[in-house]
């Protein structure tokens, strides 16, 4: 390690074959792009499932127009959706959105591409492992998709896969479990890589407290993935045993299914699965939100032209949030018959964990004070994230208090609560991130007019879908209902919202067309930019050329001299000072 300069020219001439360069690449930037494209396709697919479902919810029992005939008789005879297909769509929508869409996009794509650049590293610490984790993810995705084709279709016990239902379900559930094992493996490998990279490969001068907000967020996220996923892996193995070997880890004695006494030894517990599942799944929801918050933080600092307010406080909040997220899981289980002491514990921890969220959101809000706001396309998405996260988070409070959770549990209110966090929340932030970093990845900017159309369409229609869910939920309408609640008398005055929500969903789909067009068009035809079009301060923007050089990123290893967001420093010529500026 005598010279810190990397030999660039030697590599530039070294031509890799197409396959090594784009398919089995070990360059974090290519892997990031692979993750990104795959995850976007899965998002689109998951959205497509939901568009189908929303037809059934709006017009229960009516044949699906135009595309109904495409489906098999096991799914939609005569175009009319069967309840078993509805349940498949629901379970797979949840699974795909969470594990194959948002996490791979937020962590696999953005994290992979941006983190090494932001800390001035030549690549991830373990490039081969990085490739392996992408391919494990890919395989997991293939298994999940293939499960639609097996007899009786994909998993239909919800994304939560509660046994005994999941234990006695059809083959799709087995596929779901195998798919999950791949996805978990992928996440674990990825998490190890991120943590090692951030701990070991920070360039000179890049102390922890100089790390960009986004990198910090990825750091904590990686810890969550690393330590929360293994118990679900254990649970998946146990459920596989229940399904394939005939054990009864999750089956108590004395079950009678369809009038027949179930031929198992019994002695298990359905609640065991719930504990193991939520031990992962609660931290997982912070995995969904934290990267989004990181992206929003970057965009806000850049477009307000001032440092993030309370940077350190926010970092501490994230760490605290990450830690606490491991001990709140059973707030998903209040209604399972939890006693007073334990429920008190989990209510307290849940209320405690809401405090760092309040701090984080307040910090982002306060960052706007005294700024010089630029309403660029990414900024619009970032700004919209704030109130949307606020609404989603606030509606978590009545759920976190056990007595008020009684009427709300498993109603549409829950669906509204978390979609405000993951859809108008995370998805908006991810869109913002795409617009923001697109120039770094491609050297071209996306079209602004189309971007703004995309923004307003997405913002309005998402609210159109999810706001009425609170009304329905408060009225008591359960979730996961094939007919959207039409069976029930008490739902009759709120049932009509279903049509409105569904139309919003389809319009939301239309609103994505300008984005998809913009995305591909801009890759080849977008306006070319220099390496730092937003005049940003963090290291990824100082990497020249743009996109940064394969396998190495920086021609000279950058040295960091200052805090991440030195915007509008009094007495300086420019309103931004890159971190590597002495």
């Amino acid at each position: 390690m005598t010279n810190t300069e990397h030999d660039v020219s030697g590599h530039a001439h070294h031509e890799l074959s197409f396959i090594r360069k784009w398919i089995f690449s070990t360059d974090h930037k290519v892997i990031g792009i692979q993750y990104g494209l795959t995850a976007l396709l899965f998002l689109l697919f998951g959205f497509g499932l939901m568009l189908l479902m929303r037809w059934q919810l709006a017009y229960p029992g009516d044949p699906v127009p135009l595309i109904g005939w495409l489906f098999s008789d096991e799914q939609m005879p005569g175009g009319v959706m069967l309840p078993e297909f509805y349940n498949q769509l629901g379970a797979m929508h949840g699974t795909i959105m969470v594990f194959l869409g948002v996490v791979p996009l937020a962590v696999g794509a953005f994290g992979n591409y941006i983190v090494p650049l932001q800390i001035g590293a030549p690549d991830m610490a373990f490039p081969k492992l990085n490739m392996a984790s992408y391919w494990a993810y890919f395989l997991g995705g293939v298994v999940m998709l293939a499960s639609f084709l097996v007899p009786a279709g994909a998993a239909k016990a919800g994304w939560t896969s509660y046994p005994p239902l999941a234990d006695i379900e059809t083959m799709g559930q087995t596929m779901w479990l195998f798919g999950m094992v791949f996805l978990i493996t992928s996440s674990l490998l990825g998490a190890i890589n991120f943590l090692t990279t951030i701990i070991q490969l920070r360039t000179e001068g890049m102390t922890y407290m100089r790390m960009p907000f986004f990198t910090w967020v990825q750091f904590v996220t990686a810890f969550l993935l690393l330590l929360a996923f293994p118990p679900l892996e254990a649970a998946s193995v146990l459920q596989l045993f229940d399904r394939l070997v005939g054990t009864s880890f999750f089956l108590p004695s004395g079950l009678v299914v369809s009038g027949e006494v179930l031929d198992v030894s019994g002695g298990g517990s359905p609640l065991l699965w719930q504990h193991l599942f939520w031990f992962l799944a609660h931290p997982e929801v912070y995995v969904l939100i934290l990267p989004a918050m990181g992206i929003v933080g970057e965009i806000i600092a850049n477009n307000t032209r001032k440092p993030l307010w309370g940077y350190k406080l926010m970092i501490y909040s994230i760490i605290f949030l990450g830690f606490m997220s491991f001990i709140v899981w059973a707030h998903h289980m209040f209604i399972t018959g939890m006693g007073t002491a334990l429920s008190a514990f989990f209510q307290i921890t849940t209320m405690i964990i809401s405090v760092p969220s309040v701090v984080l959101l307040s910090g982002l809000f306060l960052s706007l004070w005294g700024s010089s706001l630029r309403f660029t396309t990414p900024m619009l998405f970032a700004l919209a994230f704030l109130p949307m996260f606020g609404i989603g988070g606030l509606t978590g409070l009545p759920l976190g208090l056990a007595p008020t959770d009684i009427p709300l549990h498993d109603t549409m209110y829950i669906i509204g609560h978390f979609h405000y966090l993951v859809a108008p929340g995370t998805i908006l932030a991810l869109f913002g991130g795409i617009y923001y970093w697109f120039p770094k990845v491609t050297g071209r900017r996306m079209n602004d007019v189309l971007g703004k159309i995309h923004f307003w369409g997405t913002f309005i229609f998402m609210n159109g879908i999810f706001m009425p869910m609170f009304i329905q939920g408060l009225a008591g309408v359960s979730r996961r209902l094939y007919d959207g609640g039409a069976t029930y008398e008490f739902a009759s005055n709120v049932i009509h919202y279903n049509e409105f929500m569904s139309i919003s969903a389809w319009l939301l789909a239309v609103a994505q067309l300008p984005f998809i067009f913009n995305f591909f068009w801009s890759i080849w035809k977008g306006k070319e930019t220099n390496e730092n079009p937003w005049e940003a301060t963090t290291l990824e923007w100082t990497a020249t050329p743009t996109p940064p050089i394969p396998h190495g990123n920086f021609a000279t290893t950058p040295i960091v001299y200052r805090d991440p967001y030195e915007y509008s420093v009094p007495g300086e010529e420019t309103d931004f000072l890159p971190q590597n500026q002495p």
Binding site: M1, P252, S253, G254, G267, L271, H275, F326, G337
Partner: protein, 125 residues
């Protein structure tokens, strides 16, 4: 610039250290380690015998549990401490381990607590 020199110096230093380790001076050290390893190996064997022997006493469940787990923790500790040379390992590694152990303990305790504070009566066998 001076900062970068400091880093290089540090690297240089650690390189030298490794070089030394390979040389005579540290060979002696390694041999000393080897003796420890053999001693630990012996202790582990003895403890295994003790564990099995105790199990033949058929103690009631609680003392049996305590003895068995104490010995297991002690054995695991020895392996971790010496074979995995946690003794003298860098603080970073300990930070990981402490964090992980905290979560495992939380999981353990909360699972058991959840089982105890559950409404309802089990039926069937």
């Amino acid at each position: 610039m001076s900062e970068s020199h400091a880093v290089e110096d540090a690297l240089q230093h650690s390189e030298e250290r490794f070089a030394e380790q390979g040389a005579e001076h540290s060979a002696e050290e390694v041999r000393k380690h080897v003796r420890t390893y053999l001693f630990i190996f012996g202790t582990l064997l003895v403890l295994t015998v003790v564990t099995v022997a105790v199990s033949y006493l058929h103690l009631p469940i609680v003392p049996a549990l305590i003895v068995a787990l104490l010995i297991a923790f002690f054995k695991g500790g020895l392996v971790a401490r010496h074979f995995m040379h946690l003794v003298g390992e860098k603080p970073l590694i300990f930070q990981f381990l402490i964090l992980t152990v905290v979560f495992v303990v939380f999981m353990f305790i909360l699972f058991i607590w959840a089982l105890l504070d559950q409404q309802g009566v089990r039926y069937g066998t």
